[in-house]
Amino acid sequence: MYPKNLFYTDEHEWLDAEGSEGNVGITDFAAKQLGDIVYVELPEKGDIYSKGETFGTIESVKTVSDLYMPVDGEIIDVNVELEESPELVNSSPYEDGWMVKIAIKNEEQVQELMDSDEYHAYVEEQKE
């Protein structure tokens, strides 16, 4: 259901950690909850955030949600495609809809995140 190679937060972000770097985005569960995405506000390269800090926002027509950092990190790349095509988050949340690439500052925190099965169970719980 949810990609096996990713790590998940309880705010529905995913982290694709490859050693000390990784892409971050939101899960398709979150994207469905939000509805058609109209705008994504992303940080600048070089910005540094701690785990749990808001690094941006994502909007549908009638809602706005904060995006939370899965681990301590520095923004090293930003998906500029999302400016023109925010709908990529809906159509391809784990690939073309990636949001930021980070340099992971605290690799231990990656282990604190949920894996695919744990996230699946978490989502089922939320639905009740």
């Binding site: 109209v38 705008y39 506000e41 909007e59 027509v61 009638k62 809602t63």
Partner: protein, 436 residues
Amino acid sequence: MLEEIGVKNIEDLFQSIPEDLRLKQPLNLPAEKSEIEVLNELGALAAKNISAECCPSFLGAGAYRHYIPTVVANLISRSEFYTAYTPYQPEVSQGTLQALFEYQTMICQLTEMDIANASLYDGASAAAEAVLMADRIQKKRKKIILSAGLHPEYIETIETYLHNLPFKIVKSELAKDGTTDLEALKSAVDADTAAVLIQSPNFFGSIETLDAVKEITASAGALFIVAVAEIYSLGLLNGPGAYGADIVVGEAQSFGNRLNYGGPYLGFITCKDEYKRQLPGRLIGMTNDNRGQAGFVITLSTREQHIRREKATSNICTNEALCATMAAIHMSTMGEEGIKEASLQCLKKTAYAKEQLKKNPKIRFPHSAPVFNEFVIDIGKNGRDVVEKIAKNGVVAGFPLVYYYPERENQLLLAFTEMNSRQDIDRLVSVLGGEL
């Protein structure tokens, strides 16, 4: 109906208000009145006020008496416009939405800016919103520079709005000629300056050199905000957008809205396209419906309070939609030619008035900068007293500056529009002359 609900009398429906908290006596207000009585009573109050309809007036200072074509009142009295709710259900509100979309466009054309919103309360609160918007854009800079040429009530409003927030407000004084002192401004602007706010024509009537101010703000990375209190000036002058303004705000009451003793008026705010998501208030956008037809909706709503709550770009909800609709009707009726012709009449009547007043050696002109339709005179006597005396003779001889500037106690701010005939102006000159 009571039976269907299942109660004996209406009071039973108020059970949820504890008995001991409910009013025991009727409200201490007069009994209800018939239409005839109400109209008589209100008529008597209205009769105690002297309006510009019967008494030549030369008051400006942020609110102006202009010609309003008769169609404006006629069209805006259509109850489809004035009894309509906010267009949150766009399918049944296309009239209001298209009128406001047209209004937004016209304001952009006049100010030469990219985006305008669907109205704010008035020029003063719009200026405060512009400062808060500049802060959202600049984020780290906390210094705001206000030209001393801003309307004093715009300054007071900004100070009140910012009072509980971590900003530093600095005032930039005027030069002798009545415009903002550019040298002083240059030394005040620094890397901590979020924005510089300047009004043109300013409160004292002087037209500011916006191109020079832009250079100063640009070199420091500060936002360049311009306030326009008399929007008719844009019929004649270039819009501040032509000089690279980042945000332009002001008062559009001059277009189709009567003086109404201070309100309701019509604040406007415009900005460069890149800042549109930081705009306060409602925005109308064009889109298509599910039948392929063009239509209008309130859009970019996630900026607003009902969605973003404490992080909203403003707390504003109700705005001045009907006043904006009136302005759109006014701008359409006067049109390209009419706005230009009226503003030229303002300019030329003001020049004529100045020439006539200059003939009186007791009248001095403290400021030499070019003006649009307002200027300051010094009459060598207490301005408030003279205006009071002249008012009894049926002429309102401008605004005594002593109300806001104790050091200007002998000065009056005079405004002239296309509504002041040559005879009116001659009368003012003669009546003023008689007091000096």
